[in-house]
């Protein structure tokens, strides 16, 4: 574990010394406005992910075939992900050591990876049979599992992200 943590810590410390990192950190308004932009882009990303997940669960947007929901919302979800990533990475870039020691930050990162794996697993397994359930009233177990996991995991990401300023577990 220490073999993994030390280089990571060195990386975060190295970034925190960048003049650009220091400049953003010392600016009064840059980070607050970045936070605002991060929340708005989260709305675009998570909002449309939830709409797709409700369709997978078989409880929302049922008048539209699943493949249609997936195909039409995908570019907007990716735009939301891109904007969230740019704003989020800049926030982390501006104050790396604040995030490095924060349990909620690492929880968020870990669960984001798990949510990505869930999405890929759905794409390569359950989505192959989409023609059989695209417009049916109920969705298969695999679809409901992926949709449910996705909602839960992105909710955890949002909650953990919001809790980052509360460093209850820091020494």
């Amino acid at each position: 574990m220490a073999d993994l943590v030390m280089p990571l810590r060195a990386l975060f410390e190295w970034v925190s010394e960048f003049p650009s990192s220091i400049a953003i950190r010392e600016s009064l308004y840059f980070s607050p406005y970045l936070t605002v932009a991060h929340v708005v882009s989260m709305c675009l990303f998570a909002g449309l992910i939830v709409m797709m997940d409700l369709r997978l669960l078989g409880i929302g947007n049922m008048r539209t075939p699943f493949s249609e929901v997936q195909r039409r919302l995908f570019p907007w979800q990716m735009l939301g992900m891109a904007l969230s990533s740019v704003t989020g990475l800049t926030l982390a870039f501006a104050d790396p050591m604040r995030f490095f020691v924060n349990i909620f930050f690492w929880t968020k990162m870990l669960v984001m990876v798990l949510a990505g794996i869930n999405a890929l697993a759905f794409h390569f397994i359950t989505y192959n049979s989409v023609v059989r359930w695209d417009s049916s009233a109920t969705t298969p177990f695999g679809a409901r599992l992926s949709g449910g996991l996705s909602i839960v995991m992105w909710a955890v990401v949002i909650v953990a992200g919001r809790l980052i300023p509360y460093n209850w577990f820091q020494r």
């Binding site: 675009l44 909002g47 939830v50 709409m51 039409r72 919302l73």
Partner: protein, 155 residues
């Protein structure tokens, strides 16, 4: 004018209880954001369709009807998680300009959604007026989110 009401709200035993706990307020804040995602999704899926993007192969009226219960659920979730935050911070939020901008925008957004936007989404296809309505809706609800975040950052 409303200041006595806000002071009364903040002095309620339940408001004091929320304020005294280090866990309740942050967790309620966090769950408020989860409902924000649900609400934003239910709004955006219709506004994108109004603008001529998103679920274009479905009729506008169908997309709007599917989204309606989730909009309602989102609003209920937002109120239930928003009120406790206001209660434990009432007297300070009364003096926050961003809080009032947010309230005015919510009032406008709700009226707009249930009247003009509702009427516009009963058609099967979007129009120039429909595109304008979609744009106004995105800007108004986006303004709600922006001002909401600014309350916490600058109050």
């Amino acid at each position: 004018m409303l200041q006595p009401f806000f002071d009364w709200l903040g002095a309620l035993p339940v408001s004091q209880f929320i304020g005294a706990s280090i866990w309740i307020y942050p967790l309620v804040q966090a769950i408020h954001l989860v409902f924000l995602a649900l609400l934003a999704g239910s709004i955006l899926i219709v506004d994108l369709r109004l603008l001529g993007f998103g679920l274009r192969s479905q009729s506008l009226a169908q997309v709007a009807r599917d989204a309606r219960p989730w909009f309602t659920a989102g609003i209920i979730g937002m109120v239930c998680t928003g009120l406790p935050q206001l209660m434990q911070n009432a007297s300070r939020e009364y003096f926050s300009e961003f809080f009032w901008y947010k309230m005015y925008l919510i009032a406008f957004g709700l009226i707009f959604t249930f009247t003009i936007r509702r009427k516009m989404t009963e058609a099967s296809e979007t129009s120039l007026a429909g595109r304008l309505v979609g744009l106004v809706s995105i800007l108004v609800w986006g303004g709600v989110a922006v001002n909401a975040r600014l309350i916490g950052l600058f109050t």
